[in-house]
Subunit: 84 residues, 2 copies
């Protein structure tokens, strides 16, 4: 089995209102040292071992469904887990 | 400056309806090898250098605002970035 971790983030050029809101809230809780906050998605997927090419498989999932490629970037880590 | 990456995930014992919905959508797009999907938050924060204890600072932010400690777990990475 594969354990895949996908990190989806807004592109640098895209405004992050949610991140700004969290920054404001952190400042109101006296965490004034926080300069910037960017918020994204973190996905953990378990995938069958019999996938021929795991990289292509993950890239296709990301580009077809998991990310909005117009405004988001993604990166991923693949870990092979030996079934007990 | 510190660059901190925070990964917030639902606890294993908590049902993840959003993850299930994404799994269903992936199956409908013929990604049938996907066994499980768990969705969480990924945050990137930039924090001033003059924070005395960065670990305590990050833990407090997570426990006061960034996570719901009843149903979520978090982990984080701290990277020290030398300002150009």
């Amino acid at each position: 089995m594969y354990k895949v971790k996908v990190y989806v983030t807004l592109r640098e050029s895209v405004l992050d209102p949610q991140g700004n809101a969290v920054k404001g809230a952190l400042h109101s809780l006296s965490f004034n040292a926080v300069q910037d906050v960017r918020i994204g998605k973190y996905l953990e997927l378990k995938i069958d071992q019999d996938v021929a090419d795991i990289d292509t498989f993950v890239k296709e999932m990301c580009e077809k469904l998991l990310t909005n490629v117009v405004i988001e970037d993604y990166r991923y880590d693949v870990e092979e887990v030996v079934a007990q």
